[in-house]
């Protein structure tokens, strides 16, 4: 007899009674840290080979920069892990506002690359608000859900949460950055899921989502309304028949597949011509997984995927160790962000998912992406640290 469905009990949301202890001594989660460092190392190693000939005078241009981003990101991660994330809950309005302002501002003031305005040009790197927005959305939305969930009205909570996520998602998609927009939606759904919203609501969400896809991809173009840019629609549908027009939208994907396949078991090493001779476009960003596949073969991708699996598993584990619902949701949000990007990006590289411009977390070259991912994982580390501290304060041992 299953227990009657009830809202997730709220556990120690405000730990006001807890004695404040310096958390600087509690170590990070070792396995999560191992996965993170391993992926950063893989990224640098892959970039060495992939970008050697991209800029003729500076063979290590991308490697040095990615190394710097990773180093700064790891410092940020460690710093974030030393603070109690719970305090961020009070800043939810501010965080949401920063996110909205930055993603709107970039449309007005950002620099244009290949027809899209996604980034502010700062000295040394281009800052992409949509990347930071992922993290801000997790923090703000999780806080909002924690506040709403106690009222017990699932439908209301679902509708409001989705609305709060869809507004920035639509703005980001309009930049146009379809990938990040989809990540926002995935985060919102994941937060509701881990918060314990009833299945009925998910069924309704699923139905609405399916309808939206039908309208955006089929009905609206038929009526002459352009919701997505034609190239975005092409990308989304090209994976269904990649050989349809290999010179156009299917080109990237078919070249990625050739690169991965040509890697065979152990990779082509320096002979990785798909990458070196530029047949594989975006090989340092969106298609870096294909580079791993070509250069290091099945062994290489197996290592990278194992590290991601380790990372995802640790996020799930830490989620269950959180001292309060806010921690659960932060870990769940970061988990969904990372997992969604990994699956969509790898899926697109191996040709079983459409091209959506989602980066591979920690692996793809890019300052915003690397920094934000590491900061997000820093928060997960914080959830871990707080969870352990809380347990030990009560004389219990948390099993890792």
């Amino acid at each position: 007899m299953p227990p009657p469905v009830s809202p997730t009990p709220i556990r120690s949301v405000d730990q006001l009674t807890e004695p404040r202890r310096p958390s600087f001594t509690t170590p990070l989660d070792p396995l999560l840290t191992l996965a993170i460092l391993g992926l950063c190392a893989c990224s640098l190693l892959t970039l060495v080979g992939a970008t050697k000939e991209d800029i003729s005078d500076a063979p290590y241009y991308y490697v040095y920069r990615q190394g710097a981003y990773a180093a700064i990101g790891i410092v940020l991660m460690v710093l974030l892990s030393r603070f109690d994330y719970s305090r961020l809950r009070e800043l939810r309005y501010g965080l949401y506002a920063i996110m909205m302002v930055s993603i709107v501002a970039v449309i007005g003031a950002g620099s244009t690359t290949r027809g899209s305005k996604r980034a502010f040009e700062l000295p040394f790197f281009n800052f992409q608000p949509s990347e930071l927005g992922k993290l801000l959305l997790i923090l703000a939305l999780a806080a909002f859900v924690v506040g709403r969930i106690r009222r017990g009205n699932d439908r209301d909570t679902t509708a409001r949460t989705m609305l709060l996520a869809l507004v920035p998602a639509m703005i980001v998609i309009a930049q146009p950055d379809l990938g990040s927009g989809l990540v926002y939606i995935a985060i919102a759904v994941a937060l509701l899921f881990f918060a314990g919203i009833s299945w009925k609501q998910f069924a309704a969400l699923f139905a609405l989502g399916a309808m939206a896809i039908v309208i955006v991809l089929i009905a609206a173009p038929a009526m002459g309304v352009e919701v997505l840019k034609p190239y975005q629609v092409d990308r989304l549908t090209a994976f269904l028949n990649p050989s349809d027009d290999p010179a156009k939208q299917g080109y990237q994907q078919s070249q990625a597949r050739i690169a991965i396949g040509a890697g065979q078991r152990a990779g082509r090493g320096d002979e990785a011509t798909q990458t070196r001779n530029n047949f594989l476009p975006e090989h340092h960003t969106d298609f870096i997984f294909a580079v791993v596949g070509e250069t290091y073969g099945f062994i290489g991708v197996a290592v990278v995927l194992s590290l991601f699996a380790l990372l995802i598993w640790r996020c799930m584990r830490i989620l269950t160790m959180a001292k309060n619902l806010y921690g659960v949701l932060i870990a769940g949000g970061v988990l969904s962000m990372v997992a969604f990007q990994v699956f969509v990006n790898v899926g697109m590289n191996v040709g079983i998912m459409p091209i959506t411009g989602v980066t591979l977390p920690l692996m793809s070259y890019g300052g915003s992406s690397v920094l934000v991912t590491l900061m997000a994982l820093g928060l997960v580390q914080s959830v871990y640290v707080q969870g352990r501290k809380n347990a030990s304060a009560k004389g219990r041992v948390l099993v890792d």
Partner: protein
């Protein structure tokens, strides 16, 4: 209510369930991705590796020069000429725009080519063969070559290059034999004969160039080029030098070939095609013991050098037109004609072998023969009286052979037709030239079939066989077939397979491979019968009263030959002569025919004397005969 802080539950069952669910989904997706990767990298990795290599490697062909064709003594018949071509290397051209347009204009003035055409040519050729240089103009003059060569800075991306063009130094001589070359066609690319040949290769299109293309073609070299995604050359790989084609030695004797052309000119056949080419003709000279073709010509002829470069459509049309003399046709193997009295030797063999007559059987030649209600006459109504087969051949008695035609028609098995076919008439000789005509030996069954299909006005009648017996009517034979038939009689029953190719050699003339013509058929001919026919032919050419005796008067060598005068509807008679000159070392059989040449003794026989004189090193003189017999 229990205090939650006291009852520490690390995880609610609901959250645990949901986390587990997420875990299951994640494991499923990871498994999916791993299966996909396994499929891509391990199961189909080889295929993708090949595709990746195809992606970046381009092999640019370096055409191999074709091998030479030489005569039986090693004298050049066909070789290559070094010529200058203006070639564009598109990647070195200035960027599109004003600069490039100016270059095209400058270049256009030098080459007398409109700039628009230059642009189109580059675009078209690049579409067919990417990464190759574009040949703008072949065979430019030395002046143009030097001009461009010395002003490389004015012509970036343009180079003057030496190329090999097929060259036919003997021009009209034997043009149809050697054939022509041209770029391989899409259809030919699919044929097994041209397996492994690259697009754009120059291959043999006709004649010996076609038959022995395999040897003459050579092996293209290649320059490997590695490119990037934008098609830019990254670096040049190793270069494989081309391998020139093998030399092919023919059985043709250049001197005899020349003599043949002179002989044809002497009897009024134009050597070169033109509007006045009314008289047309062909000759074959062959070794009767093995089928080696010593000379073969068809006139009017053409200069095959025009085919070394793309032929203008107007010229091509002219070369194929009948008014111009249709010089592309090799009449020695593609001219199917009635042969006139030269066929009588075959009729004689048929009648003797089938027992219709013996060498001594006498038939009375009264000057005419009435068959049914048609009367067949000797030419000029001469009556030769009672004669046997030797005399009948010597004087070319029509009535004698008409009579055989009548008698043979009654016999089952179409005696003359069967023997004509056995001796090689009306069937392909198997010569090593493409497109040989089979010709036609008319049989009762053949004509009756046509009649049933309403393609002719009457069925077979005895008159058909009477005409056939003297080489008239529906008979269609080529000069080469007649040469084969006479060779068979001459050598005692070996139906040789005529061939031009003798052996394949390296550039220095060392034999690499003998060309085997294929085994000959044998027919069994009674020695007595054979002697009787040869005696008749000898008498015809050498004894007073013989139809070509006056032509060979004072020739000084034994010749056995038969004149022929084929009646062609709507035009003057066609002159024929088929001869056998025995010799211990250098026996020879010739067949000569001259369309609209008149009687056999008027044109074909004198031409034959001229050819034979060359062969035996005798004084070449042109003697016209007086005999007005068919």
């Amino acid at each position: 209510m229990i205090d939650r802080e006291d009852r520490f539950v690390p995880v609610t069952p609901q959250l645990a369930f949901r986390v587990a669910l997420v875990g299951v989904v994640a494991v499923t997706i990871f498994a999916l991705i791993f299966f996909r990767l396994w499929f891509l990298q391990v199961l189909s990795g080889d295929q993708f590796l090949a595709t990746a290599n195809d992606n970046r490697v381009r092999d640019v062909r370096i055409p191999a020069p074709r091998g030479d064709i030489v005569d039986r003594q090693g004298r050049t018949l066909v070789d290559n000429r070094i010529s200058s071509a203006v070639v564009i290397e598109p990647e070195k051209l200035p960027p599109p725009g004003r600069e490039r347009t100016a270059l095209y204009r400058r270049l256009g003035r030098v080459l007398t080519m409109p700039p628009k055409k230059i642009r189109k040519e580059i675009k078209d050729q690049r579409a067919v063969l990417p990464y190759s240089d574009v040949t703008l103009k072949n065979d430019v003059s030395q002046v143009v070559y030097s001009y461009i060569y010395e002003r490389q800075t004015d012509f970036p991306g343009v180079k003057a290059q030496t190329v090999f063009l097929r060259s036919y130094p003997r021009k009209l001589l034997g043009a149809q034999l050697f054939g022509t070359v041209g770029e391989i066609s899409p259809d030919e690319l699919k044929q097994s004969k041209f397996r492994g040949v690259n697009q754009g290769t120059i291959v043999g299109k006709s004649g010996v160039e076609y038959t022995y293309d395999r040897y003459l073609r050579g092996k293209d070299g290649a320059r490997r080029i590695y490119i990037d995604a934008l098609g830019r050359t990254k670096n040049r790989g190793p270069e494989l030098p081309p391998d020139q084609g093998k030399q092919v030695r023919l059985s043709i004797d250049l001197d005899l070939q020349k003599a043949g052309q002179e002989a044809m000119e002497k009897v009024g056949v134009l050597a070169e095609a033109g509007p006045g080419a009314v008289k047309r003709g062909a000759f074959v000279a062959m070794d009767p013991t093995n089928g080696e073709v010593l000379a073969m010509g068809s006139y009017p002829s053409f200069d095959p050098n025009v085919f070394a470069k793309p032929v203008k459509p107007g010229l091509f049309k002219k070369l194929n037109s009948n008014e111009f003399g249709a010089p592309l046709v090799n009449r020695a193997i593609n001219g199917a004609y009635p042969t006139g009295s030269t066929f009588k030797a075959i009729t004689a063999i048929a009648a003797l072998q089938s027992g219709l007559i013996t060498p001594e059987t006498i038939i009375n030649d009264g000057g005419s023969l009435k068959v049914g209600n048609i009367t067949f006459n000797n030419d000029n109504n001469v009556a030769y009286g009672p004669i046997a087969v030797r005399k009948a051949l010597q004087v070319s008695s029509d009535v004698f052979f008409y009579t055989l035609g009548v008698q043979a028609n009654g016999e089952g098995g179409d005696i003359i037709q069967t023997w004509a076919k056995r001796l090689g008439v009306g069937r392909a000789t198997g010569i090593d030239l493409p497109g040989e005509f089979k010709g036609l030996v008319p049989t009762p069954a053949w004509r009756d079939r046509l009649f049933k299909r309403k393609l002719t006005d009457r069925p077979w009648s005895i008159g058909d066989n009477v005409n056939f017996a003297v080489g008239q009517g529906d008979l269609q034979a080529t000069p080469l077939q007649m040469a084969v038939a006479y060779s068979t009689i001459a050598n005692g029953g070996k139906v040789v397979r005529p061939h031009l190719g003798r052996r394949v050699e390296d550039g220095a003339g060392r034999a690499l491979q003998e060309i085997e013509p294929g085994s000959a058929r044998r027919v069994s001919i009674d020695e007595g019968n054979r002697r009787a026919v040869l005696d008749g032919l000898r008498a015809a050419a050498g004894e007073p009263g013989g139809t070509s005796a006056d032509v060979f008067k004072g020739f000084g060598r034994e010749v056995m030959g038969k004149t022929g005068t084929a009646e062609r509807p709507g035009q003057a008679n066609q002159s024929w002569y088929v001869a056998y000159a025995p010799d211990a070392r250098r026996p020879i059989v010739t067949a000569v025919t001259v369309e609209q040449g008149g009687y056999g003794a008027e044109a074909a026989a004198p031409a034959t004397r001229y050819i034979l004189a060359e062969w035996f090193g005798l004084k070449k003189s042109f003697v016209k005969g007086e005999s007005k017999t068919t």
